[in-house]
């Protein structure tokens, strides 16, 4: 029945479970190093990290960053250095979220959160200024009214997450090379490549993925997706990440 085999295929697929994630209702966990809306970080004492060097503006391939530095006022310095970012603007209609500004930044001042669900009704609103990009007094990104923040989007937005790739040079494993920040302090390093748990390539290395799959983050409609079958076989890996004592951010910010 060569001519009718195709009907068997379509007739079979119609009964199969669908792979679609119903996006606004269900969301997949975002990768830990997701590139979303930028934040400007601050030191533990509340000082801004940005020193107005304009390297981010220089490296930006989309030319979406505008920075104008200014000398710190001696009586009320904004940043610990000589200068600070007096004007800091990012046009999110141009930004391609390539993260090159984050890599260029010498002080880990600019990083990216996981937020991508925000929109504007006119072009001027797409330009975020320093007031909107700066983290709040708790060290977390400001959740602006027109942005759709979901649980987990504000996790690990600091320079720490950029500096601790699990595949970094082995000699630097476990050595924090990043500055402290408001609300978090100096964060401990992430699990490195010599950790046997890292050898399991099917396991998600991302803390937020672990937490979401374990249901630790409370949030509307976040569905367990993906690799549950592949992970389920491991008896040593049921539940929260094995490396959670190291990677779990300290403090009570959860």
């Amino acid at each position: 029945m060569g001519y009718l085999d195709g009907f068997k295929v379509t007739g079979r697929i119609i009964t199969e479970p669908k792979v679609t994630t119903e996006y606004p209702d269900e969301k997949r966990p975002k990768p830990e190093r997701f590139h979303g809306r930028h934040v400007l970080n601050r030191y533990e004492d509340g000082m801004e990290k940005c020193i107005g060097c304009e390297l981010c503006a220089g490296v930006c391939p989309a030319r979406c960053i505008y920075v104008r530095g200014a000398d710190n006022p001696p009586d009320a310095p904004v940043s610990p250095g000589e200068r600070y970012g007096f004007v800091y603007e990012i046009n999110f209609l141009r930004c391609i979220h390539c993260d090159m500004c984050v890599e260029a930044c010498p002080t880990e001042a600019i990083t990216e959160s996981k937020l991508f669900e925000f929109s504007f009704t006119n072009r001027e609103d797409s330009i975020y200024t320093r007031d909107e990009l700066l983290v709040g007094d708790d060290g977390k990104p400001q959740q602006l009214p027109w942005e759709d923040w979901r649980p987990g989007d504000d996790r690990n937005t600091s320079g720490w997450v950029r500096a601790t790739a699990p595949s970094g040079a082995a000699g630097y494993e476990g050595r924090p090379l990043w500055s402290g920040e408001l609300g978090y302090g100096v964060r401990p390093p992430q699990r490195g490549q010599s950790d046997p748990a890292s050898a399991d390539e099917t396991a998600p290395t991302d803390l937020s993925v672990w937490e979401m799959e374990a249901g630790e983050i409370e949030g509307a409609g976040i569905r367990r997706v993906g690799r549950s079958g592949a992970r389920g076989s491991g008896t040593d890996r049921s539940g929260p990440p094995p490396a959670s004592p190291e990677t779990r951010p300290e403090g009570s910010h959860d």
Binding site: T10, I14, T20
Partner: protein, 383 residues
Amino acid sequence: MDPLFSHGITLAVVLIVLLKTVITFALVLVSVLFMVWYERKVISYMQNRVGPNRAGPYGLGQSLADGIKLFFKEGFVPDQADRPVYRIAPYLAMVPAFLAFSIVPIGGTVTIAHNVTRLQLVDPPWGILFLLMVSSVAVYGVMLAGWSSGSKYPLLGGVRASAQMVSYEAAMGLSTAAVVLVTGALSTSAMVASQHGSFLIRWNAIRLGFVPFVIFLIASTAEIERPPFDLLEAEQELVGGFNTEYSSIGFALFYLASFMNTVTTSAILVTLFFGGPDGPRIAGHSVGPFWFLVKIFFFLFGYVWLRATLPRFRYDQLMDLGWKRLIPLSLGWLLVLAGMRVNWRYGFAVFGGGLVAAALLYRALAVGRRTAEVETLREGTRT
């Protein structure tokens, strides 16, 4: 004839006719809205996705939302277009689809204020000829749309549409003739009545030996330009085909017409071959419209299944299938059925004779083709 007119035409009769017209119109429109949703949903499930599910429960409002959106969009008329024809073409495509549904009986009779009438808008004694006529007229909309757009791809689409229609009209007419031959009536209600009785056995699909049904199914699919016969809107070759230059209401009407044709053709298939509203009684009640809907639903699913499964025909394959396979087959089967009307011995004699003739013809063609090939080879070596 409809018993409604047996006592002369009074005001009540006119009102009933008007009511039936409105109801038919609404029924077709609603069924088209449903069909758009149903097709998208089923084909999505056959492609491992979920399809429209945001507008209303299960996405049922999707086709309505799309329709409203299309009607509020700006309508362009291309500079090169022949304006009057360009404007009228969508209506020419849509009206026949409506008209074809009007001869379909969807149930027995009802009594409205002492007036007995059929559940059928009109019941002319030449009903099925009306169907053939209307389905031929339907291609004018497509053809004129292609021609009047003043653009090359739509023109090609329109030409394809008319050629395809001409090719398959014959096979469709011949398989309809088989139905007419066996039921002995041109009127659709008489056809349904002749299939009425024992469930399934007296349906034309069985009575006629299945072949006319298959031919009608294929030919009507080609006639309404549904996949796998949608060559006139082959995106890979013709951009959008005949409706490339249409936007807004014009496009919406073509879209509506194509789905309306699908629903209408399913209804005609059910009427001609599957006993129309014939079916077993449920709890002692005659539920013709219910069975009619069930059967239509079945065929609509079949059309979507065809679309989800089969790739589009190549143009020469389309013509081969129409002229070299369907027309001879339906003609031969009509002869067999005519023989059967006389006597079963005649019938089988014609059947056997037909097989022998077909085999001889095939052999002759094969020999001829081989001779031609040898000739070509000789030509090649000589030069």
